[in-house]
Symmetry: C2
Subunit: 462 residues, 2 copies
């Protein structure tokens, strides 16, 4: 059912762009030009009474003049003109419309009643609405977008549902990658439940990300999210947590914002992996795409630096994780390489052993030992990201990648230190068996997310 509702937005065969701008080129925010740049190859009908053509395409003075079937209307006209335009669209048989402009429940009294009118028209005519106050959709798979902001096209199994275009434009800082997106804006008709259900059934999508300021239909959403979570992970950033934030949300997306605690506890039960830190989104998405759920809370640390191991342990407790008690067999394997005075425990500090043996040998013995250990559910590796190439002898990431590929049922994450963190991390992540995080606390929180995923899938309390 949500398939029917959302599909014309994501894969329209023909679109009418009503209020299409005649301005083209850099800085013009021209929807049609963007759509073409993004790769849209369906029919486009620009509607503008002042223009004969737009971006080389014949324009129509009025939607009534289009005599062909139109799957989707994209409306970008002054707010007070939108209700009559919408009725016209509906009477032309158009079943779906993106309403781009601001100035509705995100603004004044007038805007509020205009938005109520939009919802009424949807109810009366059956036309489905996305927005207002939205960039609309992005579908990199089919090559369609309604965005007036230029967007990168990237085929990736991540679906984004948001209430702000920032998650489209700044996606590299949030989910990192994004193949499809639905910006609900003020959400006068289509809502979180519709979008989540759609991505739930979409085989192109493996992880769903939600940016939620507030929502009106909480119960239906929770039911949907719980069902979809069983099939694929849902990560969420719930904002407007504070009272002042909630007030600001009312004038941003016009959202009614419930108590943050109520949201959080309801989310937990649906399996949604929620966070309030936008940087977690990037990490969690990457981990959930590449690594298995962590089947227990016992974490081993393999490290060149005791100090780093201590920071990890401090952070574990907040995530319900704990340092694994290594089995005697594991201890022995590492002890054999270390100086006799070295107390072996977890964190496994392998620097003293490295001083006596080759780095790759020590790392591979230690990592293999903890991955074999039945007392260990997941591993955090600390290693060096040396300046390349002159210090490449300090680089143990080839070894980590190889060993991790042999034990794919336990998640392995890493934190690399040194001036080349980004470059060496990309190398480490190449086959998708290890995820590298930019800081120690972020590595712990990421394993925490993989543990939460396990608890939910097993029906255990998160």
């Amino acid at each position: 059912m949500s398939k029917e509702k959302i599909e014309p937005f994501m894969n329209p065969r023909s679109v009418a762009v009503i209020g299409a701008s005649r301005k083209t080129g850099r800085g013009s925010f021209n929807v049609i030009e963007n759509m073409l740049d993004f790769g849209y190859r369906g029919k486009i009908y620009p509607v503008n009474p002042m223009a004969g053509e737009i971006a080389g395409i014949r324009a129509f003075p009025d939607v009534k003049e289009i005599k062909e079937p139109v799957d989707l209307a994209i409306i970008n006209t002054p707010r007070k003109t939108i209700p009559p335009i919408l009725k016209q669209c509906a009477s032309q048989g158009i079943k779906s419309a993106v309403i781009i402009p601001q100035g509705f429940s995100d603004s004044d009294e007038k805007g509020n009643s205009l938005q109520l009118r939009l919802t009424e028209i949807a109810g009366e005519t059956g036309i489905r609405l996305l927005g207002p106050n939205t960039l609309g959709v992005i579908n990199a798979f089919s090559g369609f977008t309604s965005s007036f902001m230029p967007l990168k096209r990237e085929i990736a199994p991540v679906g984004v549902v948001c209430q702000s275009g920032i998650f489209f434009v700044g996606s590299s800082l949030f989910t990192g990658i994004m193949g499809k997106g639905i910006d609900l804006g003020n959400s006068c008709d289509l809502d979180f439940s519709d979008a989540v259900e759609y991505f739930g059934e979409d085989d192109d999508i493996e992880v769903i990300f939600l940016h939620i300021e507030g929502m009106n239909d909480g119960r239906r959403f929770l039911e949907t999210a719980e069902r979809v979570s069983r099939r694929k992970p849902i990560v969420s950033l719930k904002t407007a947590r504070s009272e002042m934030g909630a007030r600001a949300a009312a004038s941003h997306s016009g959202s009614m914002v419930g108590s943050h605690e109520v949201f959080e506890s309801a989310f937990r039960q649906t399996g949604i992996i929620s966070t309030s830190d936008p940087e977690d989104i990037l990490d969690f998405t990457k981990a959930l795409l590449n690594l298995p759920p962590m089947k227990g809370n016992r974490v081993a640390i393999v490290t060149f630096t005791g100090a780093g191991g201590i920071i990890l342990i401090d952070d574990m407790y907040d995530q319900g994780l704990e340092p694994a008690r290594l089995s005697p067999y594991t201890i022995t394997a590492i002890k054999d390489l270390s100086p006799s005075w070295m107390p072996i425990g977890n964190p496994v500090d392998i620097w003293p052993a490295v001083m006596k043996n080759s780095m790759d040998h020590v790392y591979s013995v230690a990592l293999e030992a903890v991955l074999e250990d039945p007392n260990v559910d997941g591993v955090i590796c600390i290693a060096i990201a040396p300046e390349l190439p002159e210090n490449s002898y300090l680089d143990a990431t080839g070894t980590i990648r190889y060993i991790a590929s042999k034990y794919r049922e336990k998640p392995v994450v890493a934190w690399l230190y040194g001036p080349e963190q980004k470059t060496v991390s990309r190398k480490l992540e190449r086959d998708g068996h290890v995820v590298s995080l930019p800081s120690l606390p972020r590595a712990v929180r990421t394993l925490g997310a993989l543990y939460r995923r396990h608890l939910f899938l097993e029906g255990l309390s998160v």
Copy 2:
């Protein structure tokens, strides 16, 4: 007094390297080779009974054979040989020694008593000791290091005091830049008070960073830190916060770790800006080097995205910050550019105005208005980091940089979204009037640190 104690470590005219390795080249961890690569031009006396020369320098079989004055001994021999070597050094008139090896209070009973013996020898002979279990020092200004790990030389006004070499090797991820460093290791003699006092009096250093696992002389440290904080900011990462973390610290640097709450509250009174998140260190250091303290807790937000503003407001409360109530004059300046339906408040959402005017014009009016506003103590700018150069019309950072340079008494920080965050941030930070942070919560925490700095300097409760 600390000048005398520490100076021979930071600026030795001559060093004896005892236990100098004959192995040179990549992966040899050769102290002498590293020292030469780093730029040391003083006298070096390798000591190794098996070698005639090391790295082209004549070697001595024994420290007694060196007939010239030696400022500093760097000792890297098996642990049990160190007490007699140390006594020999002292009797040769050497007043300072770095003790590199592990295997002391970071290890077993034997190691513990060996370390006690080192402290005794220091007491009996007056020789000052750094370590054991340390990389020693780094002084990029004079070009000296005792590190066996290769390090980058970078003249920067940041002094690092730590209990692990990770803060030298990974400095780009902690303080970002680092001109001088002292690794206290197990701290059997020289301690945090000595190092902090030294950097306090060092005109090369403007910001001090401390990595603290534990300390033995808390009271003296707090007195020193309080005095030094008045002259220059001290940022600290206190680790071993958890009980398990504390246990791990005992076998890392052999530290006695007090209660985290006691540390935190004592630190606050000394003006130390403390955090438990390593990523904050990078942000706080950059901000304290470049921006003024924030003289109140009222923050204005200028943003293209309402959603981003809401995330900022949520995070402000944890930092004791609040959204400024803009004066009517400021509101009017922004209202004049915006559509009539637009409710103007803080966050100042300028996107609707940008749709009607040029981006640079709107951004400069809004930013100048909030910086002029007597109700505003600091500003967070949200702007786009577009893919360059084809979308450079979206880039408002030139304007932000220019306006911020005119109002240097109020801190301006930024968060940029889009695929080129790093590149555009560097451009924005070029003259040092704006600091750009990688995430919204980090921007808020950074202003929080500048506010804490103000409270301390004014004698207000932090």
